[in-house]
Amino acid sequence: MRLLVRRLTPNNSPAAIATTMLAAILAAMAIASLLFLDFGANPLSAYYALFHEPFGTLRGFGYAVVKATPLTLIALGTIVACRSGFTYLGFEGCFTLGAAASAWLALATAPGQWAASLSPLLFFPAAVLISFTVGALWSGLTGILRARFGGNEVLISLMSNYVAILIVKYLVAGPMRAPGSLPETDQLPHATWLAFIIPGTRGHAGVLIALAAAFLVWMLLRKLPLGFELIVSGLNPAAARYAGIDVARRTLLAAALSGGLGALAGLTEILGVQHRLMDGISGGVGFTGVIVALLAEMNPIAVLPTALIYGGMTVGADAMQRRAGIPSSITFILQSLIVLFVLASSMLRYYRFNFAALRSKKEAMQA
């Protein structure tokens, strides 16, 4: 009698998912701890530093929330696209363009500009609308190329990242450049900054946008017929067409929604953190967000804690480097290991413990 018995179907209960994920994270941490030894650091105290900063201090927690906000929005965009059968990887571009769009509107409210009279109450909805629209149009282009002409959305969206990033590079080097040496815009007017809502930290109101988006995406995919149609289109286009669903239109909608969400990530970064537009603002978050979605198993609610832990580890890594002199790149290795182990851990759910075997062995030993 073997202790581990193979199941025919995976155990997908929440408890099983949590257990396997925890096991995967612990395994990744155990392996990564070997890396600390090389620096003469005690792995336990290094891990303490890694997690104490973001989750044990208020200031660090604020930073973790700030890091988690764009990750959440991009992960949500990934979920909408992926569940609809649209493999979109253009979030770097959407992020950058969304940031540029909100910076443009914010700068226009500076005294003497055309939107100077726009009240702050109207500014934020307008900025969300404009960012979302720009992102939706940008990803919609990829959507049209796929839905209308059968293009490969993975390639097109990956390439479109470069185009978008170069457009913004041009904007900050030319039309939107502030007088000075660096290619960047003026600082945005204070009235257009997202309020800091966690006292004593840099935690800004962008997190509310992310929370609202998570709720709306959950509603869409779980509660609305439209979301059901998106999911069916993604799982089986032939069945969707048979059922009377306009697959091309749904694909386009999914593309636009996901690009819009990606652009909102750029908005929170520009209005909440950077407060000015510059080159290279995305810093890879458009890909990290996709990883967060994968880790959260494409579940819009699970994205929230996943993004927080992922963002928190980035914050902890910086603290670790400052305090213990351990390169923060170790954290990236750890993060990558966690991703690999968690993705592989779903295999564990095909097994169950055979406690009866354990018991009978014990009885045999006693006898």
């Binding site: 017929p225 799982l235 089986n236 069945a239 048979y242």
Partner: protein, 504 residues
């Protein structure tokens, strides 16, 4: 020659094989008959080394053998043709044939020698195949010959064929039977897994019937009969002779005029099809697969671009209408491909039950779970979907149960016109019986039904009129009361009976 004795195999929760005995003699075609889930496939997979048995033994020529992998099976001369072929589509026939074999001493493949041996074998066994053809470009029937050639190349003495006729047209089927009889004459043993009774009666020497994981009978074919086998297989009397209520058909509800459709390659698939369909009527569409029947059904639903002609539903022109509009006007459709078109494998029965009308399951425009589950539960109870609840994934359902879910869903939308394509293909008699009964109940309720089927028995039993299609045209319409299978067969082969259109 080969003897399986007391084979038992447990899966979590079920006993797939319960002390099964099976003996196959040399030079015999032995049929293994049973409903879906009766344990036939498990038994064959144990014999072929895919599954390990929990207890029991396998004897080959009286010697006890241990088969733990397909490689063991092949080494012992046991070969299997799977229902889904195991061929690399981009390889040539010769490459596929020697795939996995190691012969000769050099590191280089000797494809030429393989090709000439394939030619030899194919001549010897009347399996016409070009060894240099790319496998993926060959028709299904020829691909199956490649699979059989693979086994002969390895000199298999026991050939297992899993549902070999499921994908074949009638002429291909008869060729296969000839080949199998030839192999039998050489003293090879052939094990056919099937649930088609008439094929067993026609081809096999002996038959073993399985039910609920047990061997319920092993008999010589001449000592039994179709009805008796059906009873053994299902465990009760099966009544496939239907009694139809005589209902006078009303005025036409679906009117198709000079409909023309081309496929993606630009080939004309429908040529000037005209037909009228009335309430309380089942119009059968007969024909060899690929003569435009599928295209007709799809065109009616709006899944094909219509090139010419018109479709009127209840007097309304729907030629240009989209699928959703047609459905809203009272069209429903059970497609031939129930796994990939009629259902979504990764979704639950509940989700599949609302696949074609998700928007009717909402309250305040949000999904109402109670409503969705109730609908699924109704279908499960009313149509007798067995061994499943509303959360079971469609991929876990047998073909018959899945078909009941799909048919149930389409019927529950209260259609005026129901288009049904190959409703019982691959199903066992128990499921066929209940699908037929449902179709007749719909007919009695006043639904107009277009029944596309390759099974003549089905058409002769259910239809009020049968239109025969050949190369995209309707070559004739017959009355099933007076028509014979031979007559229909002639027309399906392109011999027109009477030069009339389908209008009554």
């Amino acid at each position: 020659m080969i003897q399986l004795s007391q084979i038992t195999k447990r899966f979590p929760g079920i006993i797939a094989n319960d002390a099964v005995d099976l003996t196959v003699r040399p030079g015999e075609i032995h049929a293994l008959l049973g409903e879906n889930g009766a344990g036939k496939s498990t038994l064959m997979q144990i014999l072929y080394g895919f599954h390990a048995m929990d207890s029991g033994q396998i004897l080959l020529d009286g010697q006890r053998v241990s088969i733990t992998s397909p490689a063991d099976a092949i080494a012992l001369g046991i070969g299997m043709v799977h229902q889904d072929f195991m061929l690399v589509p981009t390889f040539t026939v010769a490459e596929n044939t020697i795939l996995g074999l190691r012969e000769g001493t050099g590191a280089m493949l000797n494809l030429k020698r393989a090709a000439s041996r394939i030619r030899e074998l194919s001549e010897q066994h009347h399996l016409a195949v070009d060894p240099n053809a790319i496998t993926g470009t060959l028709p299904v029937g020829v691909q199956q010959r490649v699979e059989i050639l693979k086994l002969l190349y390895r000199d298999a003495r026991v050939l297992i064929l899993d549902e070999p006729t499921a994908v074949l047209t009638a002429p291909e089927k008869y060729r296969l039977f000839t080949v199998l009889r030839g192999l039998r004459a050489q003293g090879r043993s052939i094990l056919i897994v099937t649930h088609k009774l008439h094929e067993i009666m026609e081809l096999a020497d002996r038959v073993t019937v399985m039910r609920d994981g047990r061997n319920v009978a092993s008999v010589a074919v001449e000592d039994t009969s179709g009805p008796e086998l059906a009873r053994l297989m299902v465990g009760r009397d099966v009544n496939l002779s239907v009694s139809k209520l005589e209902v006078p058909p009303g005025p036409s509800i679906l009117s198709v005029k000079r409909l023309s459709v081309r496929d993606h390659a630009g080939q004309r698939k429908l040529k000037d099809i005209s037909l009228e369909l009335h309430p309380h009527e089942i119009l059968g569409i007969a024909g060899v697969d690929g003569n435009g029947q599928s295209e007709l059904a799809q065109a009616l639903l709006g899944l094909r671009t219509i090139e010419g002609g018109s479709i009127l539903l209840n007097g309304r022109d729907i030629t240009e209408a989209r699928v959703a509009e047609r459905r809203a006007l009272g069209l429903a459709y059970v497609p031939a491909d129930r796994r990939n078109v009629g259902s979504v494998a990764d979704l639950s029965i509940a989700d599949n039950a609302m696949l074609t009308q998700p928007r009717s399951n909402t309250r305040h425009s949000l999904f109402n779970k109670t409503l969705i589950r109730a609908r699924a539960q109704t279908i499960i109870t009313r149509f007798g979907v067995r061994g499943a609840n509303d959360e079971t994934h469609a991929s876990k359902l047998s073909g018959g149960n899945l078909q009941k879910v799909i048919l149930g869903r389409e019927i529950m939308s209260a259609p005026k016109v129901l288009v049904v394509e190959q409703p019982t293909r691959g199903l066992d008699v128990g499921a066929i019986e209940s699908i037929w009964a449902e179709l007749l109940r719909e007919r009695a309720k006043g639904t107009a039904i277009l029944l596309v089927s390759a099974e003549l028995e089905e058409l002769l039993n259910l239809a009020d009129r049968i239109a025969v299609m050949y190369e995209g045209r309707i070559v004739g319409v017959v009355d099933p009361a007076s028509a014979t299978a031979e007559q229909l067969g002639m027309m399906m082969a392109g011999t027109p009976l009477e030069p009339t259109g389908v209008s009554s």
